[in-house]
């Protein structure tokens, strides 16, 4: 069945997850969660919600509960590590981690250049092996005579072609 769990999981864990994730959406959850219960308030990592609806770690073990009790006292009594631990209890990612972005752009630029180069290869091959000669009206001698004729005919004399030719001095302006 196309929608079997195994297939979905395989796709998600492979190429498609990396390809389909944008840096904005990644911040909502750091890891893709298998099942999200949307009937209860969710935690999220978003720059515009500094205080999500619920803390990140909701089921505290004994040690974490003790830290929470200590938090109720004056905060000057907390060590730096304890403050960081409390932060990580209520938030999964810091702002710096949220804003970091990814290295995906390097893959994209690399891919673009690769395909541009490949196209260039195809174009060169076409010109060398497929296309015939251009018409004789594109030879330098013909172009010279044609240009002279266009100037004699005063083609586009106002602002275009013949306007750029100095008829007295017989040269381009």
């Amino acid at each position: 069945m196309l929608s079997s769990r195994a297939l979905v999981r395989g796709l998600q864990s492979g190429l498609w997850r990396r390809v389909s994730t944008t840096s904005g959406m990644k911040a909502a959850h750091a890891q893709d969660l298998d099942v999200i219960d949307c009937s209860v308030p969710q935690y999220n990592n978003r720059r515009d919600t500094p205080l999500p609806d619920v803390p990140f770690v909701q089921n505290l073990n004994a040690e974490q509960k003790k830290l929470k009790e200590k938090e109720k006292g004056p905060w000057t009594n907390l060590t730096k590590e304890e403050k960081l631990a409390l932060y990580r209890l209520s938030h999964e990612l810091s702002y710096a981690e949220m804003k970091k972005g990814s290295d995906e752009w390097k893959t994209v630029i690399g891919g673009v250049f690769f395909f541009l180069g490949f196209t260039g290869l195809l174009v060169w091959w076409q010109r060398a092996y497929v296309f015939g000669d251009v018409p004789r009206t594109l030879s330098p001698e013909w172009i010279e005579m044609q240009t002279k004729r266009m100037l004699d005919m005063r083609v586009n004399p106002v602002g275009g072609f013949s306007a750029k030719w100095d008829y007295e001095k017989n040269q381009w302006k």
Binding site: R47, D48, P135, R136, T137, E141, W142, M145, Q146, K148, R149, M150, M153, R154, V155, N156, P157, V158, G159, G160, F161, A163
Partner: protein, 230 residues
């Protein structure tokens, strides 16, 4: 004709084309202004560092961005309609020429005074004289007196064609069984090139139009010569 790597219009050879050029400048300026504004807004939104999640509505800006586009559209529409009616003015032409489209050449009939008619085939590339323009030259040109209003009646003998000369600001479809009228005044002497502008079969790209505007004497000499040759 166009010069190499030309991007814009050819220089106008008739008063109507001049008007069209100026209108195009006007409309394009408005388009550039709007595009610049939109591009700036997009960049500002994408690079903004903070987000306002609590906007519900805003009556003032909605009014502005409804009224302002209406004003801009009026500013585009008024000159446009002016030119449209200008092109349809009653103009008392000095000469009437019938341009008939065939597969794959044009034929011109000058029947005001005598019965002058001739076909105008493209000169194939291998038959060009050095310096001639590929795919644009014809064996016979439609010669008209300069600085005179000319009426052109365009039709077709088989399938749809379209008679177009960009430098004169003229394009008119040739429909079999129908006479379409257009007019122009060639403000300066010269040779003006155009190409068939309605798909008409295998050689649609190879039936060009060449209009040669000359002083009246030269036109009279030419038409006498053409009548003798016929």
């Amino acid at each position: 004709m166009a010069h190499p790597s030309q991007l814009g219009f050819q220089d106008a050879a008739s008063p109507v084309m001049e008007e069209l050029l100026h209108f195009h400048d006007h409309a394009l300026m408005i388009v550039f202004l709007i595009s610049t504004l939109v591009l700036y807004i997009i960049v500002a939104m994408v690079t903004a560092k903070v987000t306002n999640k609590y906007i519900i509505d805003s009556q003032e800006i909605e009014i502005v961005w409804t009224v302002l586009p209406a004003v801009i559209l009026t500013l585009i529409a008024l000159p446009s309609l002016r030119i449209l009616y200008l092109m349809d003015e009653i103009n008392d032409p000095h000469l009437t020429v019938k341009a008939m489209g065939h597969q794959w050449y044009w034929s011109y009939e000058y029947t005001d005074y005598e019965n002058l008619g001739f076909d105008s085939y493209m000169i194939p590339t291998q038959d060009l004289s050095p310096g001639q323009f590929r795919l644009l030259e014809t064996d016979h040109r439609m010669v008209v007196p300069m600085e005179s209003p000319i009426r052109v009646l365009v039709s077709a003998e088989d399938v749809l064609h379209s008679w177009a000369v960009p430098a004169l600001g003229v394009k008119m479809d040739g429909v079999p069984g129908r006479l379409n009228q257009t007019a122009f005044i060639a403000s300066r002497p010269g040779v003006f090139y155009g190409q068939c502008s309605e798909i008409c079969g295998a050689n649609h790209s190879f039936m060009p139009i060449v209009v040669e505007a000359v002083p009246l004497e030269h036109f009279e000499n030419w038409s006498s010569l053409m009548l003798e040759d016929a």
